[in-house]
């Protein structure tokens, strides 16, 4: 019979689909664990050598050079700094790769009066990003920024905060300050698999010290 063969094929195809669905169901029943940084008691990187530039004076402040690299010895961060602007919607751009951090060119240069804003990824689709261990920092830890003229400025962490993106305190993070400060920003909190985004931001506040 000419119709017998195709109907048998339909039946077989149905069975194949059932097997595929069952296999898919069984293979996706496991969870992948959260990857947590291993807390390190000692600095993973040496502090940069060489003189540390003095914090800016109130009177006749001297212009400072653009930032070129960032070192955070305690959490093993040593990265070039790329430049970042704003998106069409007015939000901060983020680096296109997860292995470097970037400085927002609309914010003061690190070491000048005001809050310099530096942004990096916590992770990529597959593993840790440049700011994976940012949340390990705490008050008193040192952060170094090297500038295009070879000078280095040192910042000391004053506070580490986690905010829901829906309640991000824009003024506190990006607002003006009368001294030279630094903000290091990455993602944090819970990951929303539905949107592919973290629900929070981690912000490290630091102030320049000599």
């Amino acid at each position: 019979m000419p119709t017998r063969k195709p109907t048998a094929i339909v039946f077989a195809a149905g069975l194949v689909v059932i097997v595929a669905g069952t296999a898919g169901l069984l293979l996706t029943r496991h969870s992948t664990p959260v990857l947590r940084p291993v807390a390190a008691g000692v600095a993973a990187l040496p502090a940069p050598t060489g003189p540390i530039a003095a914090p800016p004076q109130s009177a006749q402040p001297a212009p400072v050079a653009s930032p070129v690299s960032l070192t955070i010895p305690l959490i093993g961060v040593k990265t070039q700094l790329i430049t970042l602007g704003l998106t069409a919607g007015g939000a901060l751009q983020v680096p296109s790769t997860t292995s470097v951090a970037g400085w927002y060119t609309g914010s003061p240069r690190p070491g000048a009066v005001g809050s310099a804003i530096i942004v990096g990824h916590i992770d990529s689709l597959t593993g840790p990003g440049v700011f994976f261990r940012l949340s390990e920092l705490s008050s008193g830890d040192d952060v170094y920024v090297k500038r295009a003229d070879g000078t280095t400025v040192r910042f000391r962490v004053t506070s580490v905060q986690t905010y829901l993106k829906d309640h991000f305190p824009t003024q506190t993070v990006y607002g003006p300050t009368p001294d030279a400060e630094l903000r290091l920003i990455t993602c944090g909190g819970a990951f929303d698999a539905a949107t592919g985004h973290y629900l929070g931001n981690i912000v490290v506040y630091a102030t320049e010290v000599s």
Partner: protein
């Protein structure tokens, strides 16, 4: 299970986030100290937190025209004392005043006026500007030119600044400006970079020759502050719960339907064949 999942997604309770927003800078303000009295000799300036007899900050040999950088201090009550240079820290100060530092506020405490009428003035400094603008105010600290007109780009911004006066802040377009302090017997001119989001105090001083303008940067922020937080993660380290079983269950359902349809036809065809052959 659904409840557990949504709790996992929300992660940080909203209440915790708002609390930390307040505590990020809670309790920190800034203070800077200035000597702006032309005929007063250099002084030692002491900053005490209220009720503490040992000074938190001591600036030695502060001469006329000196302004310290801002120091971050815990919000609260302080007193500022001026003593003659080299005087014992336990001696009676020449002058003292109290200042209440509020969180997120910046203050300038300046010795102003002539030596005979020296006083400590506490100024509440501004930190913010209208978007993309710069803010400027003028302190007239010249004794030789009692009244000074202050201009910016040829426009008068303070018509008659008298000795030891402080103007209010004014917003000006961000640019590099030529500013002038014009007294009856002397004029000072300078070019100053007023970047967007920056706040400045221009101090008019008696220089060695006529007048001088000193540019104090009171604060700086992003000229154009970004909107909201940042999107800096793809979840590669976040861990995932098991994916939704719904698509797989739907697939099994579809497969069952297809197989049933096929199987049904197969049976019907089998029956028909039996009828035709008469078996």
């Amino acid at each position: 299970m659904l409840l557990a999942a949504s709790a996992l997604l929300l992660g940080i309770p909203a209440a915790a986030a708002t609390a930390s927003a307040a505590s990020a800078t809670s309790g920190t303000g800034w203070i800077r100290l200035a000597h702006l009295s032309p005929n007063t000799p250099p002084v030692d300036v002491y900053l005490y937190s209220f009720g503490n007899s040992s000074a938190q900050i001591v600036l030695h040999h502060v001469a006329y025209g000196t302004v310290s950088p801002y120091e971050a201090v815990t919000a609260g009550d302080y007193s500022v004392a001026m003593r003659a240079t080299g005087a014992s820290p336990s001696s009676q100060p020449v002058l003292s005043t109290s200042v209440t530092v509020k969180a997120d506020h910046a203050y300038t405490v300046a010795g102003m006026g002539p030596e005979s009428g020296l006083r400590l003035v506490v100024l509440d400094d501004q930190l913010t500007t209208p978007s993309g603008k710069s803010e400027v105010r003028v302190i007239q600290a010249s004794l030789k030119q009692q009244t000074v007109k202050f201009t910016c780009g040829g426009q008068t911004i303070v018509p008659k600044a008298t000795f030891a006066s402080v103007s209010s802040y004014q917003a000006i377009p961000a640019s590099t400006w030529t500013m002038q302090a014009i007294g009856s017997g002397a004029t000072a001119t300078g070019r100053f970079d007023m970047a967007p989001g920056t706040v400045h105090t221009m101090v008019v001083l008696d220089g060695t020759n006529g007048l001088e303008i000193v540019n104090l940067e009171d604060a700086a922020g992003a000229g154009q502050p970004p909107v909201g937080g940042v999107t800096t993660g793809f979840g590669g380290t976040a861990g995932h719960g098991p994916g939704s079983p719904v698509p797989w269950l739907a697939l099994i359902g579809a497969g069952t339907l297809i197989a049933l349809t096929g199987g049904f036809r197969l049976r019907r065809q089998g029956l028909r064949r039996q009828l035709h052959t008469g078996v």
